[in-house]
Amino acid sequence: MNRMLPILFVIATVVLIAIATIQPSSHAPATSPDSAVQKLYAQVKNRDYHGAYDFVANHDAVEEQVFQDELAGTHGSLRTYSQLQKVDTHILHAGDNEALIRADVEWATAVGAIHSSRDLKVVRDDHGKWRVVWPAEKPQRVPPQVIPVNYLRWDVIQRGPYDDWGVQNVDAPKVNIVSMNAIQNGDSVLVMGEIVNQDTVPGFVSVGATLIAKDGSVLGQESAFDHISHTLLPKEVSPFRIDFPGVKLENVKSVRMNTNSMLVPASADPVISVEHQRIETDSRGRKVLRGELVNQSGETVNIPHVLATFYNHNAKVMWVSDAYVDKALLPQTPVPFAVDIRDDLAANVGSYRVTVNHYDQERPQ
């Protein structure tokens, strides 16, 4: 018995090592429609795009480079700074040789998680292997051309240390909050509204709010971070939203707003139009504001950031939402976007307005 015990331990160890080592390879052919999608995204997660392309059925319609560009991102887009985090698959329809799988994908990015949902058709080939029919997106190519860009740039010379006392500096731009509204949203109080640059020069603006309790004490102090367009050109209007988590609106007596503006160098370029905006219901049954962004300039916009302001039927700001687009905006090329709307507010939306921020690698700001 004393000799048997070590032998049993050795055998058990070998078996466990074998179990751990001999796992089904992620490159192994998919034996079900669900696993085909999972395996494709597993390769994407490992950044093995060639391996992922092996699970694509329609090689004739989708080039490998186009497939890789779509999943890995190009032109310094947000996708190039992203990592695939999680994929949930749901079988919408399953047949013997064909199935429809919904893939809910979560990407981890520098600006938070980005979710996307896609219905993928999966087919079984003659050898019984399941592969994904990847939606063929033919990238739009802009013909070679020269796009003259002669928009303004504003540069600033501030007062120097050797100027006389009394020599005036250039003033910061005059900005004004044109509307403000405070609401309760779950456990948070949200202060939202719009700010306009009333001046003739660009400015870097920030909006802060202080919640005052009924006894005069300060309940919280926050400022708008990415629910605002910080750089405002002359007469440009931006929404803002300031979140106060863990505060009840009923405890708030008043809201003290404060704005700061700073004169900064800026460029009037690029112009981004927002086309075909409409409120739709997405595949999850949620209301979203969709549309397309078109970069009307000649330079690539690396990371677009969409800000949507929703107004009620009395034209009062009722919600401000934002979304980052993980594709770069190439010149003259429409790129779709979607911004979530709170389902309980969707019925009360009278109108909405979409503005676009942009973050660029090379363009001087």
Partner: protein
Amino acid sequence: MIRRVVFVLVVLAMCWFAEDAAAAGIKPPASPVAGQGMSLETSGSGSATFYLVGPATRLKRSIHLGEPIRLQPREVAAAGRYTAIVDGDGGTSVSFYVAPGKPAELSFLARPSRVPAATQHGISGVVFPFDRDQNLVLEPLPVRFELTVAGGAPESRTVETRHGVAYIILDSGRKEGAAQFVATVGDVTARRVVRQVAADPCDLHFQAERAKDGILVRTAPVRDCSGNPVPDGTIVSFVQVGPHGKDTVDARVKRGVAQATLPANVPSTISVASGVVSGNEVHMGGGQ
């Protein structure tokens, strides 16, 4: 008798000289001015030590009583109250006030650096006159303020300083441009530039027409209510609402006009706005 008379004369002489030594005195100039040399008269005899304490002066000097004490301009450059002390036989002291000199420099604060045209009480100017040694001139002085924009009539006013300050509040002119804001005291002038800029757009109007790749929208020259063109780079928002949803472009004014191309989303209603100012609406029919 003679001896008694001589004794009395000797005592009187001693008393005379003793009184003379005790009367070591100092007399400031009648109306001293900062930055100008001056003399202080002394009386008495013998040696003494002279001290001068002022706003920016600490001075110690050996002197001979009865001779004037000459002070260099740099030693009394700061205006204010001075105390002169003679430390000797029966030492004494005197205080006197040194007034600022003539205005030689103006500190001119003009605000703001930019102002919309035709703004009431939009421009302020404050003047502090200083002499050449940076002493604030406190005596009342007439300050002439003048605001001029090229091609426009200048506006000028004269204000007297009180306690070393003169200020004025002016309306901005109706014409945009770099306004020269000048303050003058005697022959001393300070110049600032206040840029008068176009105010909010007025009567914003645009036209729309079918183009090859959509609908071309173009504003008329965008001007404020005084007729000044708004600066290039100003945002003008076009919004089209049609059967395929809403389309928006934040166009920039370029050479006085904003234009953009919207997708053909007809029949549609197109509107325009800039900042808080709305313009006209254009209805595009399917056949137009």
